[in-house]
Structure formats: structure tokens, C-alpha cells
Symmetry: C3
Subunit: 456 residues, 3 copies
């Protein structure tokens, strides 16, 4: 029922030294490693603190999406985000983590149910001091790793809800999220962080430009193609109906939450804190993360003038996310100017991508595909520039994950479309999902301008 | 004027070993404890980081409540929350902490004013290195514990404002909060965490399902009975006037803030970080906290269909809180599926409880009594299932705290009602407290739908 | 291109001992220092965790300001805040940090471009274990310090946008921010934290009442004088047009975010975590920060009755900020009641200051000058009461920073006014910057009450 992965995230060489304690050999220039138990505490605490911050990103996606949709669908998007985070956590507990990390071969881990603390961890908290050595040799507590991995799968799920907002049926959406978080994402994870075939080829993706963000982006893109655009979004005469965010403050707050949470997302992905090398690396990660986001904002704002005709706030906000996604595959680079360059290109790409999506009549309500998928691909390839990954392997990883996630998601959306339907009725869509499906209003006391009905 | 509690939260056995340092006896299987000063830093830092996160929960309560009330009372609820957090912090500094933790007998601690750092702590920061040993023997800095305890009393106070929103008078409310945070809560705390009579009987309440959440719930319930329902809420014909949240985004944001903050609330309640056993325990706490909340959401959503007729967002949001409250008495359990079960039952109970409150014509604006009191009782009893508490003692604790808090709160509300009045005038209630008491509007530039006036 | 400051934030005496490890001399009363590498991890982690929390304050300023302006300017203030945080981060990377901390003489540091990790830090993360000793002797990783300092400069910039909201031109504003964060603030910083002339005289400003908050306040005041009040704010008949916040929930949320973030702002300014003395000091900082804010709220609310005629939420919220700013120069004091006194006086001063600003026909949209400048001056002087600073030096610091920042800012605003213009056209101002400059609405689906046009 439960099993315990034997990953060696904390370098063995360091750990082997640790038991010796603190040595002063001759001069003061040799310094042995940090005590193993202290390392264990640091590593585990890092997972908990940064993981909690990543959970907070779910609030960021919620605000970003709920502010971006029209008011008539704002309650529904809140419910979808609340539900998807809950489902992701439960699905990853019931199956996902085992599939991703336990006894991983080339392709996937163990198809077993439930996960829990290692017997040593249980013995230690029960007061059995003899279990301590075995516990600390693992480098971190088993459940702290589960916690940190769980908030990542929730991030992947969050990406999907934004793209498909305002028309996808709630229960079909939840079923998709269940499959995504219990099976699809864990398989991608098994190939890479679970040390499956892509890992063995040398694929590099520090915190998940491809593994988390592109996976979410491909799943969203497949959904957008199967579910189709919102009624009237692409008019017969070739023009596009504007659907501006209904609450700019909420969107802006959401982006700041995501930016803040990304320090946990990338910083915690250092996966260890118990040595000088790890905390120095984590420092670089936070600095690069912030610089890439800032550069993404400025590049997106600069591009929005020529491309969109005016300086545009929403483009700037999406530029921040694109900058963050871009740096996520390699935030451990040591020259900060690379973070500026990578983030700026990510922000610009996202701005172009938003225009491209509209050209292709793909209706992505919040621009999640440009920000997470396009920037995610760019970031994964950019690792080769700044950090020295193998371009062929990086490209192979991008393509393999893309094909697997897109195809499996597309099939799943199709099956849902043919069985439960994936799209609300025309009447519900016009009325809004809040009234139509939930029977509530997001802002019942505010008079809304009746949205003008286009020809459809 | 000041006094210094001598609690031994960090196990003495561990501390006694610590001074020996790092030993390698024979093989590598024996590992001595972490250096005492390092333990001290970890323990204290845990109080500070997690405590700061608990303070953030106050913003969560504020958003949850301000989004739940009608717009005409939204500014007032913001002011009440700002004020209650300020009052709680000052009251706990002036009196509460001493009453709860200093020289506690069976029933309460010391009725002395003001609190401050220990003389050793003061000496150490003044540069007296000789004070260090005494300082670190305490296990954590005196004021870090005060800080962590202070944010808990603020949480208790936050629960009350939601239930009584839209009709309780500001100054009477503030006076009640002053008494609650300076006296009532500290006495409950003295019985339990202060190591008074309930503690001595073996009562278990890890982070305060009873001590914090039920205490707030009982105080709110007493207030709801004395203050009475909002005008027109329960109509003469037996029907109930719907009072939907005015800002669903704010409510949702509030719940995400609370969920996030709960990692600090429960995680920090491990009360130590300086050993492998403590950080392993803290890992379990965070995982269980998240699973219980997720299960609470899904159970509440599942129940909302048969009980309320449709899938309801607000019920799902309250289910998250109920799941969190339920697990708070025993988040250190080692089998995560117990957290799922406990949280799910909590979420379901809360949904039933919301219906029950309406049946009993008790007007609880945000559903705080079902979420904090009902789920709090359930969580305190559930400890026996998963963690091995004594059912009789747990029940005794629930009843004793309930009787004491409910009776003292009811009397206090009654006294306030007879002297200062606890309820705004009918005119102010109809107009809204924002205009009526504060002279401002929460959203002055938005046209509001004039709320239809029911017969009263 | 890069250079590496040699600050000694971690006391050398402690570090010298550290290499010896853990000693037990005779009895257990002597305890050697924490292992140097563990100290290094603690110190660096403190910068990262608390620094991330300070970044979050930017969201607080954004919500506070976007809720305070009229809806027609809410999108623009979101964009300004997004942009200023991005610009501040980039400017501080390209130039600011070097000017503030690298090779500082009396007046300023090195006018060189770009900053990056030390060669030792780079070597260590590249796997060169021999670099470790040199790395840990620095006490913290080079980039963690950069990160923590960067979020401070962003705070200074955030102060300016609030005061000048609703009429300052976006690009002129961004240019001012560029100069403020690349040059003006770093020079003030070089005098003080960079160990220039004011530092050498013994000027005390723990976390920046003067260095951060007054600097922002002076820059805002100069801007308010050059840019002038909003159209119609001060009427010809001497009355003042009320411009109430358009979204009280957003303002309240913003203040809670700032309060929460201030734990990182002041707590992280302990600058070290790796010893008992440091974490005890940090505990005092957090407690005092919270008490001062709470006292600021209560004092402001108490003053708002006699001064403004009624209990006022916005005054209470600004009182929290003023309390926080007041304690920022000396949050390490050991008697908490001093924090209560200092915070309360700060809150009262701010309330009086808000009235004073209006008297002087200075239009400060969010009250940033009273909260950050007036309270910042008070806090810097108050250090002498509670912590023992030299009143003459403190006053000199206040005046010197004031003259330098005010004059340079005033000149810069004037130059911008004469070249690019600093103020939007009358038409854009009446229409609102959202539609006028950005072409979007913050809340497009909500019907807005057309703001009545005063005679101008």
C-alpha cells in the first residue's frame, strides 16, 4: 500500500562526511560538512516553507482568472479553482505520487494506492530514538517531499482552468483534472524528476518549465480545441469580440501572488538547504527569478505598443508570468544578466503568442497557453544558452512531453465531450455559469451592464 | 511587572544530550542531538515564521467577512477586523499572556500587567555573552513564544466578528473583544496549554480545535443569541430572506488566505523545529492539514447537492474551513487517510450545521459557528480515533470550555446590551453600518441595487 | 563589472570562535558558537525568506493605492506599481547596488554596472569544495544580500506612486522611479547602510524609517508640489472636494499585506540569524513591530473622532502604516511598551498630518507623506528615547537625507515637467487615466456613477 522512494537529492559525498562532524585539520581552510541532523532539518523545513508558499499560488491563479472572466462567470471560476486544488491534493495522495516517484522504471512508477510516512519516520515521531539515523540518512522527511511535490501538481491543474473559463462544464472539468493530476502529470514527472528515461538522457528542467508549465499548457490547448471558443468570440466577419477583464485589481493581485509564490516554486526546487552550496544556489535562484519576471514585464510592455497599439496592463501582467515561466527551467544560472535576457524574450514571446492564439481562433481566456506553454518551451531550450544543457535532449524532452500530454489530453477531452459533454448549453453560456450552473452571482449587489449580445 | 514562564516544550532529554555535541560511537548508527544553540535558533525561527503566517489569517477573515456581508456593511466589517487584531495584540500584551502562561495553577495564571523579554534575553542582546547558556536552555526566545501565542488569540477574536456582522455596534463589539482576548480566552488557555487542570487530566488539542476555534465559536453563538438576527432575516411566514455574499472573489480569497495561514497555525504548533523528530512531525502536520481541507471541500460540495439543492460555492468554501478546524486538534497523526476522513466528516457536518442554524433561527452571517464550533467539537473528539486520546477527557474538555466560554460570553453580551446597547438602531441597520456609523461607503462609485426592503 | 563588498554584518568575534566547533569546558555553562556553515545557511536563508515577504509588500501598496483612487484611475495605478517594482529591480541590478554598497567612500560607492555572485560563490555552486571556506567567511551569500536590499528600494519607489496617483503621467513617473532607484536612494543608502559619512557619525536607522520611508516620502512630497493637486480637489471657495476610496476592501487588504510584509522588512533587517543573540533580537523586532502597528491603529482611531469628526476606517488603516513606519528605525528595543508608545504617537501624528496636508493644499491621494515621511521622522528621532541614539546625529541624518532627497527629487520632477511633462492633459484627467492613457477600464462591467464635475 505504501512504498518509499530512495532518491538521493542530498549529495552522498556530503552526507558521508557529515558524520565525522566538525574538523579542523591544520589550518582553518578545511571545513567539514554540516551535521547530518541539522542538514535534515534544513532540507525538510525548506520543503515545508517554500511548499506552503507554492500552495498560495493557487490563490493567485484564482484571482487572476476570476478577475479576467466576465462577472457572470466569476463565481464558477472560483469554485473550479477551489475544487481543482482539492482534487489535485487528493489524487496525488491516492495515486499520483506513487506513479511519479515510487519504483520508477523508464516510463512510470508504481500503480499503487495511498502514500504515507516511511516506517522510520513513524517510529521516530512515536519516540523510537533508534530510528533517527535511518530517518536523517534520507536527507528529508518523506512527507515533506510529498507536500512539496503536491503543490506542483496543483499548479499544473490551475493552468487549465484559465484557458477554458466561461464555457467548460464543471463536472467534466473536474474529471479531467482528476486524470491530469492522478495520471498524466505523474507520468511526465516519472520520466524526468522520477528519474525515468528523459532524466537518464540528461534532460534538464530545474523547477518545471516543461514538466509543470508546458504540461498545463498542452492540456489547456487540447481543451481549447475540443471545447471550442466562447460563443461570439470570433465573429463571422473575422473580427474578434473584446472580452476585457471584469476586475483589473483582482488580476493584478493574482499576478503579484504568483510572483511571490514563485520564490517558493523555484527556490524550493533547489531541493536542499543544508549546505553552503545549496543555500548559495537558492540565492541565485531567487535573484534570477525576480530579474526574469521584471524583464518579462518591461519587454511585454515595450512590445505591447507596436504589436497591440498601446501600452497594455494585461500584457504587462502576462509578461511577468511568461518571464517567470521562462526562467523556471534554469534559475540556477550564475550570471544574472542571462535571467534578464531569458525573461525579456519570454515576455516578448508571450505578447506575440497572445496575438497568434487569436489569429488561430483559439480562445484562451487568460492567455495561459502563451504564458505557460510558449514561454515554457523557450525556457527549456534557453537552458542550453546559460547553463549548458544538451540542445537535442532539451528539444526531445519538449517534444516528447508535448506529444504525450497533448494527445492524451485531447483524447480525454474528446471522450468527455462524447459522454458527459464538456460544454455548457448555449443558454447557460449566455446567462453565465454563475446563475446558470451555480445559481449565484459573484457580485449580486452591483448593477451590471448587460453584456451586449453579438450575433453568434 | 513581568514574569517568565518555565515551560519545557523542548524535551529535556534531548537538550541534556545536546551539549555533548556530535559523537560517533562505534558505528555510525548513533547520532547525538543537535547543538543546543542551533536548536534554539530553529525553535525560535519556527515561532516567528509560522507566527507571521498566522497573523496573515486575519486578512483572510477580513476578506471572507467583508465579501460575505452586504455592501452597505463592508467597510464596517473591515474596521472591526482591523480593530480586533489591534486590540487582541495589545490586550494579550497587557494582561492575557500572563493570565494564560505565567505561574499557572489549576485555573489561571498571574493577574499581572505587561510582559517582556526575560532578563537573560535582554542581557544577551545587550552583548553579555555569559547569558547565552541560560537563554538557550529555555529552548526558544521568550518573545517569540509571546508572538506565536498572540496571533492565536487574534484568530479567536476574528471568529466572532463574522457571525455578528451587519448589526452589532462597533464599540460594544470592541469591548467584548477586549474581554475575550484579555481574560476569557487566556483562562481557557491556562487550563490547557498553560498546563492547568485540563492539561493535567490529559486533554489533547494540538493547535486548538477547542481552545481557539470552539472558544471563538461559543463566544459568537452567545453573541448571536443576545444580539439577535438581522432585521427581516427570518420572516414571519417562516421563510428565510436570502443574504448572498456581495463579493464572491473576496470570500474566496479569504478562504485561500486562511488555508495558507493554517500551515503556520498547525505547523508552528509543533512548538519546536530543532530535532529530526520535530521536523518530521511538522511535515505530517502540514500534509494532514492540507488533506483535511481538501476533503472538507469535496465532502461539503457533495453534501450541498442533496441538502441545499445545488452545488454551492459558499458551502465548499466553508467546507475547507471546517476541514481545517477538524484536523486542528490532531494534525500530528501519522496515517494521512485519517486526515481525509476527519476533514470530510467536518466538511459534511458544517454543511448540515449551516442548515441547522437557520432552522434554529440563529443568524450567523458567515457560517462561523458551524465551521469553527461544530467542526471544532468534532475534531477534538476525533483525536481519539486517530491519535489515541481519552474520549472521556476529550468530551470533558469540550463541555467545560463550552460552558465556561458560552456562559461568560452570554453574560458579557447581556451586560453590554443593558448598558451600551449591542445593536445598532433599526435605521442604521437598514441604511447600513457604513453610512450609518462610519459615514463612508465601501464601494462609493458603484451603483448598488437598492436592497429590497422586506416587511420587518 | 562586478565587485564584492566586504561588510561584516556577522560579528567577527563570533565567527572566529565558530571554527573551533562545539566545546565543553569543565561545566556546561560555556557554549561555543554555532558552526560557521550553519550560521551561513541561517543568515542567508533569513535574507531569502524575509526578502520574499518584503516583495509581497509591493502587492500591498498596489491594493492600497488601487482601492484608494477613483475607479477611473485604478488600472493605471496597477500598471504603475507593476512597472515600478520591475524597474526598481532592474535598476538596482544595473547600477543601484554598486552605488550603495561597493567601495563606498564617504558619499557613494562605485559607479559601475551590473552585479553578480562573488567568484567564490560561483566556484562553490560549480562544485569546487575548496571555495567553501571563503564563501562561508562572508557570513551570507552575496546574492541573498542583493535580493534583500533590492526589495527595499522597491518599497521606497512604491511610496511615490500613491501620493501622485490620478494625474502623473506614466512615462514621466517611470523615469523618475528609474532615477530614484538607480541613484537617489542608493546614495542615501551609501551614507548609512553602506557605511558612509552618516554611518560613521553613528546614525541609527535599523530598517529604514529615514532611509527607506522618509526617502520615499520626500520624493513624493517634491512630486506633489511640482505636479500639483488633482483638478478640482481644492475648490476656489476654500472647500475640499472629497475623493473617497473607491474600493475599501482593496485598501484594507493592502494594509494587511503591508503589516504582514513588515515582519520581513524589520525582522530581516536583523541581517543575521545564525546565533542565539540574533534570533532573540529578531523576536523582539517582530513583537515590537506588531505592537507599534496595533497602537498606531488605536491611536489614529481615537484621534479621528476629535480631529475628523468621526471614527474613520481610512485613518485607522493609515495609522497602522504610521505605527509600522515609526518603529522601523528602532524595532530592536527591549521594552515592548516603548513600541506601544512610539507606534501610538506615530498613528496620532499621521492623523494630524493628513489634516495638515489638506490645509497646505498638498494633494496626497493615499496619505503617504504623513504615514511615511512624518512618521518616519518621528521614528528616527524616537530611537533616542528607547534605544539610546544621539539626538543630534539622528536629527542631522533626518535633515541631510531630507534636503538631499527633496532637492534632487524636486529638480528631477521639474526637469521632467519642462521636457516630457509630468501631468496628463485636463481631458485625460477628467476621463480618467484608464481610458485616457491605457484604453481600458478597471471594472468595465460595473456601472459607475458619473463623478460629478466640479468647477475647476
Amino acid at each position: 500500500m505504501k512504498a518509499f522512494p530512495q532518491k538521493n537529492r542530498v549529495p552522498l559525498a556530503v552526507r558521508a562526511l557529515a558524520i565525522i562532524g566538525i574538523l579542523t585539520i591544520g589550518t582553518a581552510t578545511v571545513h567539514a560538512a554540516v551535521d547530518m541532523e541539522v542538514q535534515f532539518i534544513f532540507n525538510t523545513f525548506s520543503f515545508l516553507v517554500w511548499g506552503a508558499l507554492v500552495m498560495w499560488m493557487c490563490a493567485g491563479f484564482t484571482m487572476l482568472e476570476a478577475g479576467s472572466v466576465r462577472t457572470k462567470n466569476a463565481s464558477m471560476i472560483c469554485l473550479k479553482n477551489l475544487g481543482l486544488y482539492s482534487i489535485a491534493g487528493l489524487a496525488y495522495y491516492f495515486l499520483g505520487y506513487n506513479l511519479m516517484y515510487v519504483d520508477v522504471g523508464k516510463v512510470m512508477g508504481s500503480f499503487t494506492f495511498l502514500y504515507g510516512p516511511s516506517p522510520d519516520d513513524i517510529a521516530l515521531v512515536a519516540g523510537n530514538a533508534e530510528a533517527k539515523m535511518a530517518v536523517i540518512e534520507n536527507g528529508y522527511s518523506t512527507m515533506s517531499d510529498w507536500f512539496f511535490q503536491m503543490v506542483f501538481v496543483a499548479t499544473t491543474a490551475s493552468i487549465v482552468s484559465g484557458t477554458l473559463a466561461e464555457r467548460v462544464k464543471m463536472w467534466s472539468f473536474f474529471l479531467f483534472i482528476l486524470a491530469l493530476t492522478a495520471i498524466i502529470y505523474p507520468i511526465v514527472g516519472a520520466w524526468t524528476w522520477g528519474e525515468g528515461w528523459l532524466y537518464q538522457m540528461g534532460f534538464k528542467d530545474f523547477a518545471g518549465s516543461t514538466i509543470v508549465h508546458s504540461t498545463g499548457g498542452w492540456a489547456a490547448l487540447a481543451g481549447a480545441m475540443v471545447v471550442g471558443p466562447r460563443l461570439g468570440k470570433f465573429r463571422r466577419d473575422g473580427t474578434v469580440k473584446p472580452t476585457p477583464p471584469s476586475n483589473i485589481l483582482a488580476v493584478t493581485l493574482g499576478v503579484f501572488i504568483l510572483w511571490f509564490g514563485w520564490f517558493g516554486f523555484n527556490g524550493g526546487s533547489q531541493l536542499a538547504l543544508g549546505s553552503a552550496a545549496d543555500i548559495v544556489g537558492m540565492s541565485h535562484v531567487l535573484v534570477n527569478t525576480n530579474l526574469a519576471a521584471a524583464a518579462g514585464v518591461m519587454a511585454a510592455l515595450a512590445c505591447s505598443r507596436p504589436i497591440l497599439g498601446q501600452t497594455d496592463l494585461v500584457t504587462g501582467l502576462n509578461g511577468a508570468i511568461a518571464g517567470l515561466v521562462s526562467i523556471t527551467a534554469g534559475p540556477d544560472l550564475v550570471e544574472p544578466y542571462w535571467a534578464v535576457i531569458i525573461g525579456a524574450i519570454g515576455g516578448a514571446l508571450c505578447t506575440v503568442g497572445m496575438k497568434l492564439m487569436i489569429r488561430m481562433k483559439l480562445d484562451d481566456v487568460v492567455g495561459a497557453v502563451p504564458a505557460h506553454l510558449f514561454a515554457g518551451i523557450w525556457g527549456t531550450l534557453a537552458v542550453c544558452l546559460a547553463g549548458g544543457g544538451d540542445p537535442v535532449v532539451q528539444l526531445l524532452g519538449v517534444v516528447a512531453v508535448g506529444v504525450f500530454v497533448f494527445v492524451s489530453s485531447w483524447l480525454l477531452w474528446k471522450i468527455l465531450a462524447l459522454t458527459l459533454e464538456v460544454r455548457v448549453s448555449k443558454k447557460v453560456e449566455q446567462l453565465g455559469q454563475d446563475i446558470g450552473e451555480l445559481g449565484i452571482d459573484a457580485y449580486p449587489e452591483f448593477v451590471l451592464m448587460p453584456e451586449e449580445e453579438d450575433e453568434i
